[in-house]
Symmetry: D4
Subunit: 227 residues, 8 copies
């Protein structure tokens, strides 16, 4: 039995759900609508669900003609097909520092939701107005996992990390100018954070953060129980 | 009631256990033995346990005179005092790519253990000898959280990430030369990984990885239950 | 006797075949179709064959009007004229990690073929699905030279290098985002690889990898024989 | 009349007090005690005061033999001679994020004091324990100018900048490891800050921050008055 | 009482004037005209004035339809609404090194003026023609705060810093090519300056420099008086 | 049957000779003499030969006590034990640009020799004295594989690459100062070379170049024959 | 008497010819045709000649309407008005490594000629075909000053520097891809060159190289004579 | 007739004087005293003079035992043997910005003098005290060639370049801290300078600047004469 479908230009990893818990997700950037359609057909047939990230509206419209049940989100440029039929215990809070970080934050939230996580959102709570953040301290400390998205100097995750006893996944964004260096600065800042319990994903990688958050809730669901 | 002890040169955060789940951990580098002794006394009195990282043997010996119950680990340069009296469900696997990555791997393992995590270890399984890694596939897929430590080109976490359905925390190390750039290369490599479900901490930050792994198991213990 | 044709804007190196074993190859980027036509005419007259890399479809169409026997490959943007009339012993395997690496991989394969090498191809075998790679272990170990193309974190050559007793030429690609740094990350990663017997060419330089692979097979053809 | 003393190896700028408001300050690093002694003699004779920064204890001891009234501060490695005989209105608050930032913070404070500024200090108030910082909100908002010193990810100035209506001068320090890049990371972070009203000086340049803070208070003293 | 208006995509900080002395300023880049209009409405209602930076002419025209009293400046891409009804003592001099630095210089000047500062301007006085600069020495030394804008190698602030006894705020610009590195070179140059009393803001951040200059004059107005 | 010996701190890859054609080579830097001794014992027992690179004289002397037949080379810091009992056809020429590149060049030469390659050497032929190089044109064009070692600007491989029809492996060295950036400059220069048929290894990685050269000659020996 | 014309947006340095030997040259990039026209009018009136660099054909055509005697060169994007009426002794040789470096080489040549230098040209003599270069050894050694333009790895100046007893000015170009880093690699390479007697200008700065070459010939004309 | 002496570890280029106008100069760093002695013997025998740069006092003392006529300069770490018996017309002015730049400035001056140039020196004239510089305007404009040495932000050459009609050679130094980046900042600053007629050499490369300055005076001597 083969563990992938060989399409020549691509080897679709149809065994990934067994191995990794979730079907392969399609990275839409740099693929033609036709390439995506073929890969998506295999995934839909096998798993009854599919997700495409970094997909332009144009490509999305072409795909929706073939998959009318699919739904496209303009903010995050994500296309979803199918749903999870379960929900994990706990919840993922997605926070962001500024209005311009929304596309990345929404990609994270949609990913976590599609993988079975309840999510809450807290947007535009950058550290330059610390009271906006601290006004939500209760919700923040109640979340199970926190995805903290920030561009500019990337300081928000450090502050959040100091408020909670839960894992924080920091996502730097490419929103900024000059010394922001297309996201290198918040990335370095987050990696150098003085807060413990925090880890970091690639610039603008909302998907990766949502994915890891879901793996954490899944783990809690699978092995949890009081100490 | 004050939430910290003010020592002038330091404000010891004695409320951190309530807030973050664990007492403050002392970063030993750049502090004098006397500074560490004072801070450690407050933490030991308050929490009955303490941990000091990046502590040279010389400083450790000076401290052990004051805290004879403390124990020092030469490989990781960690000093521990006290123990957790509980153990989380699940387990943390600490892997490393090469022999020279051991200090960082051991720092991660000791941190996770001291915080209540059962740990397993799989060392010197770099990708240039992929069979050494795959020979342990079963143990790898059974771990709850995986800390993957690697210097050089930092490829190990990408391979491990593709084998498991659990969160992977990647730790780049400063072991290498030339284009390794003191750990920048494995760091960038890990952040750019094609594997989902993986996040990254600072170069040589075994402590941070162990800490986040423990927060994940703690979460599972606190909120877990089958979906 | 002059060893080049002086065109004013260019000195065409008509002696290169004698010196280097192959005629000069034209780098199409940044040259006008007319400049390329003139240089190509000299090469075709002298060598009965020519190769142009990094050529847009528009320029290619203009050139094919003058050289109707020439053939253009859309994936790699390479134009070829004429053929080798020999074939080296052994074979070059061209591998790539992801679908988006195809243009570079095909440039490498076409170059090696045009220079007289039998080639085999193994595409979309990134390390996050290691079984897709290892399922081809036999073919991999039988190749004479391996060209391994990868974007993202560039981990594939390290794994391949550990499987074979043959030279590996690694090619980083500019496919990725954020910390990928337009290919700098896989480049650094490949240079820092823990695998021996591997060397690296410039980002996206499929041509250079194919060229060196052909020189290796040519050497084997010229001097080979059992020890 | 010459506006400097020409010592061959140095041209001592004896007119700087008139021009810039303060005598030249000696940068001690890389000068021999004898060179410093000669320059300092000229300054003391002319201005009755002198300041030497980045001076090792060894060199300081040699100098104190010649200038017994001089006083040396071990934390900041600053040597001072003479005093201002005035005090500006307002005050400079010097804050730092961690214990290891003290040398830079003290250099800033000593500079500002020596130039005539009342100072207050608030140390070890990093953002990972935001309550330590906010517990001092009243003092913070009452300061006239704030010098905020931070290593690691350099997030403290962003938070402080959002709390006050006064100018903030941020000073990154070289305290950190790995992605901290010897202070480049907090520097970039501070420059990219989402807080308005903040500017930045060179890594570890406590002197520069203290100097500018004093110029600001001096300006207030010179031209001030209600709008 | 809430200290911000929650618009979902944005939390407008209506308390900032009390806290920071000035209402929130809208960063126009990356926001839709509709988003800006909503935020601006809240600010206008609350404060009777508003400022939008980095706003294209197209967006400005759309906004002026809603706010006919607003005025747009093409050089700096700034939109202003309302006026201060006071003027601080002292003055801000805005200088720039070359003609191409004008947009940044004008952004700084408009910001300072809108916040209540008298300003003077001295443009195109780069150090390669030092006499153009020194011909204005008197005006330069009379300014209260100096904003010095420069692209290329960023040398102007160092020279100006040596002429005055007042705070200098240096602004690097993205004007240049090659080794100018989009403004990184003048930024590094300014941070490394041998002049005391100087601090630096982000590349092209005329707004930030103008804002800090205004805070300094405001401080002088609030607390000033002779020593 | 296990394909490695598990020493706890290391998993010795005793199957590598079968898989890769050569036994594992020990990287001496960062290992204790005792660790090296244990690993070396296993390798010597299994393969009758061993090689240790980057070994200080002190560690070498400690090892020679256990392995009296081993021989140490001071220039390259390599320890060798045992010999190949065969010699490949063809030859490897090792060239270097300057006297200070000798340690890297000798590491390359010793590696290739120990693996069965005849070698020739051409040292101190930097391009600033091009006649020194071209005086050896005949030997250069007769070599089967060329290893070209250069620090400073790394120009030598580009010139050599244009003279020959054989594969060139370029090795940048860390010899230089200032803009040489510890070898980054010759590395980038070599990767960007206008010569075809050339690939590059890590800075100072003479071993890697020698290893790949030997794999090329081995291939020629294994599969060679005229086209 | 004023030493510049103040246009508000620009201060035209009309005294530069006296001070620097040549009138101010207009950098065309980022200026409007109208701005250039005004500045050019002043220069033409004062000096009877003018030069504009980095000028697009569109802007050039608009300017030629006002200055019909002006002539525009498409390769270098330079506009010239007027001529020198003298010619320096000696000659400037402008060399370039590849066809794509022509625009920069021609900018250098036109600059030097317009300033009074006889020039010779030697193009497309990259080091990968060293015989093309050495075939011109006689002309090369006879030049008075050599401007050597190169993209890619920038090796040509090192070789030329070793052939001559005259000053070499190296110009890196932005022609290349991948590790070429938009010209940073040849720049670093040239700065690190093992050849003495060579200096470097900014990436693509043909103008600067031509200008310095002319200053050198002018010096020879002004002070020369046999020792 | 051989054009070099082959010492095995070095090929001494005894023909360089004919080719380049000057004998080979020995770079002392990284060579043993014995290696230097052998090379120096050949050069002294052939040319009656020799120069060694970057030579420690220890090595110098060892060499002076063999070459008692040699003289060593402690500031620049240069060893000289023999003298020129001619003097070029014109003069080289060596300037530096700060006291710590003296070693590099003296290396430049000694090199130029040893090669036959009259030199003048102007030290510690950094731009933060512009009057110290402008007080010497007459001498500056009278120099034939200007070598301008600066660490920190490297602004001095830009100002000097605007004052003179002669070629300026800028030398960045490694004197500074933090954002100075071991000399990268003044290097970039000098390359990006808005002054024409200036070129740049490697960080701390006083020798290279002195060498080029001498080639310029030599050219003037060889070909000069009024236009």
């Amino acid at each position: 039995m083969k563990n992938y479908e060989d399409l020549g230009f691509s080897k679709v990893d149809v065994q990934r759900e067994e191995r990794s818990g979730y079907p392969e997700v399609i990275f839409g950037e740099g693929k033609t609508p036709e390439q995506i359609r073929v890969i998506m057909s295999i995934l839909v047939e096998k798993h009854k669900k599919a997700m495409v990230t970094r997909l332009s509206r144009e490509k999305a419209e072409a795909l929706i003609k073939h998959f009318p049940e699919a739904r496209y989100d303009d903010t995050s440029s994500v296309l979803l097909y199918g749903n999870t039929d379960y929900e994990y215990p706990g919840s993922v809070m997605v926070m962001c520092a500024g209005t311009s970080d929304l596309p990345v934050a929404e990609e994270a939230a949609l990913t976590a939701e599609w993988m079975g996580c309840p999510t809450t959102k807290l947007y535009d709570v950058g550290v330059a107005g610390i009271d906006r953040l601290l006004g939500h301290r209760k919700e923040i400390t109640e979340a199970s996992v926190l995805i903290v998205v920030a561009g500019m100097e990337g300081a928000l995750p450090s502050v959040v990390g100091g408020l909670v006893k839960r894992p924080v996944i920091a996502v730097p964004t490419s929103v900024g100018y000059g010394t922001h260096l297309q996201g290198i600065t918040p990335l370095l800042s987050m990696l150098t954070s003085c807060s413990s319990g925090m880890s970091v994903v690639n610039i603008d990688n909302g998907f990766g953060a949502g994915f890891q958050a879901a793996l954490i809730l899944k783990l809690a669901a699978d092995i949890g129980g009081n100490k």
